[in-house]
C-alpha cells in the first residue's frame, strides 16, 4: 500500500466519525454493531502496521496540515518506533475492546452512547500518540481526560461512579494543565513547535534555563495521568467504569499516556541528574505501593487496577534509569503489560458477566465451566507472573539485565525483585477462581459468548507468539521503540531461553521462589496489609475528599461575603467601583482642560438641559418610587432629543425605545416587589448614596471631556463611510456596521441579551424561594448538582 500522508491524517480521525454513527448503528442492528464498528480500529491497525518494516529500518514520517496558522498550530503526525507501537496498541487492543463492549453491554439502554464515548476516547488517544505538534499533542491529551471522565462516569446514576469520574478528571485534568505549561515553555525555550523538530535538536532543552521548570511541569502531567504516588488513587477508583473501559483505558492506553509523554521527551529532557533521580524515586515508590495495596484486594478488578499502578511505577522507574537495557526492559514490559492486563481485565469482566461476582474468595471451579476463558486467563497470568514462554518473561529478563548492568544489587534491583515476587503472587491469586473448589455463586456459570473471550485469547496468543518469534518481535516493535526513547538506534538480542546462569537469571529464580512463598502466605499478607492500612487511616484518596471539601467550604465562605443577598450593597459596590475606576486614572493622567468648549451650543439646547435637570430634581425629591421612575424617563428622553439634534437618528431612536421600555419594566418590577411606596432612606445612607452618585457623574464627565480632547483618528469612520455602500450594499452606516462589518460582535450581544433575559426569568420565578440559605458544604463534593 502506497503511503499517503493526507490519507493517514484523515484516517486517524475515523474514530470520531465512528463515534457519530455508533448510536444510530446500535439502534438499527443492536448488539451486533460492535462487530461492524470494530472494523474502524482494525483498518487503522492495518494501516499503521503497514509502516512497520520501514520504521524498523530507521525511517520516520512527519507530515501534517496547518490547523490554526495564526497561532502556529498544526495538525501533524510524527511516526517513529514509539508512536507507531503505541498506535498499534491503541488500534489493535481497541478492535477487540469494541467487539467485547458489543457483547458485554448488549441490551444495555445506552449501549450506543457507550460505544460513542469509547470511539471518542480512541480517537483522542490515537491523536495523542501520533501527534507531532506540541499544542495539538496537548489538545488530544486533554481530550483523553475528558472522554475518560465520560466513560468512568458512564453509570452516572451511582454516586460512586460520579465521584470516581470527577476525581479522575480533576487529577488528570489539572496534571494536563501543568503539562500544557511545560509544553509552552518548551516552545519558548527551544523555538520549536513540534516533537520531530525538538528531537532533531536534543540538547537545547537540557541547557535551557527553564529546564527545571519544564521538567517539573512535564512530570506533574505524566505522574497524574499515569497514576504515580501520590496521585494514584484515581485509578483503582476508576474501576467503577464498565469493564471494557477498564480493559482499554486502564491497561493499555489512557494510563500509559503519562509514560508515553515521558518516553516521548526522554531524548530531550532525560539523561540529567534530576531525571535520573526523580523518576526512579517516584516510579519505585509507586511500584511497591501498587503491589502491596494490590495484595489486599479480593475483587478481581481492584487487584488488576493496583497491579496496573505498580506496573506504571516500574515503567517510570526504568524510563528514569534510562540506560539502553533499562529502556528495552521498559518497552518489553510495556508491551507485555498492555497484552496481559488488557486480556485479564476482559477475563474479569467475562467472569463477572457469567457468574455475577468478581470476589476471588467466592469464585471457584471455573476451569471446567469456562474452559476458553480459563485458557485466556492462564496466558495472561503466566505473562504477568513473568514465566516462560511469554513476553512477560522476556520483559523481566531484559529489565533485570538493565538493572544489574547499572548497579548490581542496588535499591532499584531489590525493589524490582520484591515487586515482581508480589506480582507473581497476585498472578496466582487471579488464577484462583479457576482452580479452587467451586463455591456458591450468584449465577450458574457457563462459557462466555465469543465476543467476550475472543479479545483475551488473541492478546494472550500475541504474547505467546511474540515470545516464540522473539527475533521478529524485537526487530519490528521493541528495537525501534527503544531507539526512539533512547534517541539513538539500538541493537537488541534478547533470549527466550537463558544461555547460562547470569545474575539476571538468578534474580528470576529468586523472584519465583519468593513469589511462591508469598502466594502460599497470601491470606496472612492480606490481613497484615489491611491491618497496616487501618493503623495509618489516612491516604491520598481521603486527602482528595478533604481538598474538595475544603474548596467547597472556602467558596461558601467567599460567597457569603461577596453575595450577602442585599441588592443595596450590590448596587453601592458596583457604582463605587465604577466611580473609582473613572476617577483614579485621573491621578496619573491629570485633569482634562475644563475650559474646553467644542462649539457654542444653540439656545434651545439649554432648554433641553433644563428639562433634563428638572426631571432629575423630581427624581430626587419624589415622595413615591413610581414618580421617581417616570421622572427618570424624562431625563432619558431629553438625552435622546440631544442625540437627534446632533444628527444621530439611530441612536436617538434606540434611546427613546429603551427609555420607554425601562420605565415600563421598572414600574412592573416595582409592582411585584413588596416595597413601601415611598423611599425612606435615613440621612447617613442618603448622604453616602449621594456621594457615590456624584462621584460617578463627575467621573463620566471628566472621562468624556478627556475623550473629546484627544486627537481624533478618522481612519475607521472614513473606511466605514466610504465602503458601507460598495461593500455592504447599505446606506445606513450604523446598521451596516452592526449587521455586516461587526456582525460577530452583534451576534455575541444577541446571545448576551438572550442569556440576560433567561437569567431575569429565573430570578423572577425564584422570588418566593429567596429566603433559602446557601447550601451547607458537601463533604464528598459529588452531590452538588442542582444547587442554587
Amino acid at each position: 500500500m502506497a503511503f499517503s500522508p493526507d490519507f493517514m491524517l484523515w484516517l486517524a480521525l475515523a474514530p470520531f466519525a465512528a463515534a457519530l454513527i455508533a448510536p444510530w448503528l446500535v439502534g438499527r442492528i443492536g448488539g451486533r454493531a460492535g462487530w461492524v464498528l470494530a472494523l474502524v480500529p482494525a483498518i487503522l491497525f492495518v494501516a499503521f502496521a503497514s509502516l512497520l518494516p520501514a520504521v524498523a529500518n530507521g525511517v520516520t514520517f512527519a507530515y501534517g496540515v496547518e490547523w490554526a496558522p495564526s497561532l502556529g498550530v498544526r495538525y501533524s503526525h510524527f511516526i517513529d518506533g514509539l508512536s507507531l507501537t503505541f498506535a498499534l496498541l491503541v488500534t489493535g487492543i481497541g478492535t477487540f475492546i469494541v467487539v467485547y463492549a458489543g457483547g458485554y453491554l448488549s441490551g444495555h439502554g445506552h449501549h450506543g452512547r457507550f460505544l460513542s464515548f469509547l470511539f471518542l476516547f480512541m480517537g483522542s488517544m490515537l491523536g495523542l500518540v501520533v501527534a507531532d505538534d506540541l499544542i495539538s499533542l496537548f489538545i488530544f491529551y486533554e481530550l483523553t481526560s475528558i472522554t475518560s471522565f465520560l466513560l468512568i462516569g458512564f453509570d452516572h446514576e451511582r454516586s460512586a461512579a460520579r465521584r470516581a469520574a470527577l476525581q479522575a478528571l480533576i487529577v488528570t485534568g489539572s496534571g494536563g494543565l501543568a503539562l500544557f505549561a511545560g509544553l509552552v515553555l518548551m516552545r519558548l525555550a527551544s523555538g520549536e513547535a513540534s516533537v520531530s523538530a525538538l528531537l532533531a535538536t536534543p540538547d537545547v532543552l537540557r541547557e535551557a534555563p527553564a529546564y527545571t521548570a519544564i521538567f517539573v511541569l512535564v512530570c506533574l502531567g505524566a505522574f497524574t495521568k499515569s497514576a504515580q504516588v501520590p496521585f494514584h488513587s484515581w485509578l483503582p477508583n476508576a474501576m467503577e467504569a464498565p469493564t471494557p473501559v477498564s480493559a482499554y483505558l486502564h491497561s493499555a492506553t489512557m494510563v500509559k499516556a503519562g509514560v508515553f509523554v515521558l518516553m516521548r521527551f526522554a531524548p530531550v529532557l532525560g539523561d540529567t541528574a534530576l531525571w535520573g533521580t526523580v523518576l526512579p524515586l517516584f516510579g519505585g515508590a509507586t511500584f511497591l505501593t501498587g503491589v502491596i495495596l494490590g495484595i489486599r484486594q479480593t475483587d478481581l478488578k481492584q487487584i488488576l487496577a493496583y497491579t496496573t499502578v505498580a506496573s506504571l511505577g516500574l515503567l517510570v522507574m526504568l524510563t528514569g534509569i534510562g540506560t539502553e537495557y533499562a529502556l528495552a526492559g521498559a518497552v518489553f514490559y510495556l508491551l507485555a503489560h498492555a497484552l496481559f492486563k488488557g486480556g485479564l481485565f476482559m477475563v474479569s469482566g467475562a467472569i463477572d458477566h457469567e457468574t455475577g461476582t468478581r470476589d476471588i474468595t467466592v469464585l471457584g471451579g471455573l476451569i471446567t465451566k469456562m474452559p476458553i476463558t480459563f485458557l485466556a486467563a492462564l496466558l495472561g497470568c503466566l505473562s504477568m507472573a513473568g514465566l516462560p514462554p511469554l513476553v512477560g518473561f522476556v520483559a523481566k529478563e531484559v529489565l533485570y539485565d538493565g538493572l544489574w548492568e547499572v548497579g548490581g544489587v542496588s535499591v532499584a534491583t531489590i525493589v524490582a525483585v520484591i515487586g515482581n515476587a508480589l506480582m507473581f503472587a497476585i498472578a496466582g491469586a487471579v488464577m484462583l477462581p479457576f482452580l479452587r473448589r467451586p463455591g456458591a455463586l450468584p449465577k450458574k456459570p457457563h462459557e462466555a459468548p465469543p465476543a467476550l473471550w475472543l479479545g483475551p485469547i488473541v492478546l494472550g496468543g500475541v504474547a505467546l507468539g511474540g515470545a516464540l518469534l522473539l527475533d521478529d518481535f524485537t526487530h519490528l516493535l521493541v528495537a525501534p521503540m527503544t531507539g526512539a526513547v533512547a534517541g539513538a538506534a539500538v541493537e537488541l538480542h534478547p533470549h527466550l531461553i537463558p544461555t547460562g546462569l547470569y545474575p539476571p537469571v538468578i534474580l528470576t529464580l529468586v523472584t519465583i521462589g519468593v513469589g511462591l512463598v508469598l502466594f502460599i502466605l497470601l491470606s496472612v499478607l492480606r490481613r497484615a496489609v489491611a491491618g497496616l492500612l487501618t493503623a495509618i487511616g489516612w491516604g491520598p484518596d481521603k486527602g482528595f475528599d478533604q481538598v474538595i471539601a475544603g474548596i467547597v467550604r472556602g467558596s461558601v465562605a467567599v460567597t457569603k461575603v461577596v453575595q450577602p443577598g442585599s441588592m443595596q450593597s450590590y448596587v453601592t459596590a458596583t457604582f463605587l467601583a465604577i466611580a473609582l475606576a473613572l476617577l483614579l486614572p485621573l491621578g496619573a493622567d491629570g485633569l482634562p482642560d475644563l475650559r474646553y468648549v467644542g462649539s457654542t451650543p444653540e439656545a434651545f439646547y439649554f432648554v433641553i438641559l433644563a428639562v433634563a435637570v428638572g426631571g432629575l430634581w423630581i427624581v430626587i425629591r419624589a415622595k413615591t418610587r413610581l414618580i421617581a421612575i417616570v421622572s427618570l424617563g424624562v431625563q432619558g428622553t431629553m438625552v435622546a432629543l440631544i442625540f437627534m439634534l446632533y444628527g444621530a437618528p439611530d441612536l436617538s431612536f434606540t434611546q427613546f425605545m429603551v427609555e420607554t421600555l425601562s420605565v415600563v419594566i421598572l414600574a412592573l418590577v416595582m409592582t411585584r416587589l413588596d416595597l413601601k411606596a415611598s423611599d425612606h432612606r435615613a440621612g447617613p445612607v442618603a448622604t453616602r448614596d449621594g456621594v457615590v452618585a456624584i462621584a460617578c457623574g463627575l467621573g463620566f464627565t471628566l472621562l468624556l471631556l478627556n475623550v473629546v480632547q484627544q486627537p481624533f483618528d478618522p481612519r475607521l469612520s472614513e473606511f466605514f463611510l466610504d465602503h458601507a455602500y460598495d461593500i455592504a450594499h447599505g446606506r445606513n452606516v450604523v446598521n451596516v456596521i452592526l449587521v455586516d462589518f461587526r456582525a460577530l460582535d452583534t451576534l455575541g450581544e444577541s446571545a448576551v441579551v438572550m442569556a440576560a433575559g433567561l437569567a431575569i426569568l429565573v430570578l423572577i420565578r425564584m422570588v418566593p424561594a429567596v429566603t433559602r440559605r446557601i447550601a451547607a458544604p458537601d463533604p464528598t463534593g459529588t452531590k452538588g448538582e442542582g444547587r442554587a
Partner: protein, 137 residues
Amino acid sequence: MSTLIFRTVAPYLSALMILFSVFVLLRGHNEPGGGFIGGLIAASAIAIYGIAYGVETVRRAMYIHPNSLAGFGLLIGALSGVAAIFAGEPLFTGLWWIPVVGGVEIPLSTVMTFDIGVYLVVVGSLSSIALTLEETD
C-alpha cells in the same frame, strides 16, 4: 390600568406598532432603523397588549413561546454568519441575492436574515421578561 379607553385602543396600537416594527426592521439597512430598534418596538407592543388584556391572552395570541422566539432568532443569526463559509468566504461575510420580480429589484441577503435574527432575539427576550413581570401569581 385596563381602563375602557386603553382596552379599546390597545389592539389597534399594538397592531400598528408591530407593523411599524417590521417596517423599521426592513428599512434599517438604508435608513435609520434595524433589527434591534425594531425588536424594541415590537416588544413594547406586546407589553402594551399584555397590560390591557392580560398575559394569558397575549401568550395565546403569540402562539410561540417568547423564549423559543429568542432562541430561534439567535439560531438564524448564527446560521446567517456561518452560511458564508459554505460560499467559500470568511465567516460573517454578507451574501446577496437580488432577484427581479415584475421589474422590481428585491435585494435579499444573509445580512437581512441576520438582522431578522437580532429582531427576534430582542422581541423574544424583552417580551418574555415583560410578560413574566405582568403575570400576577
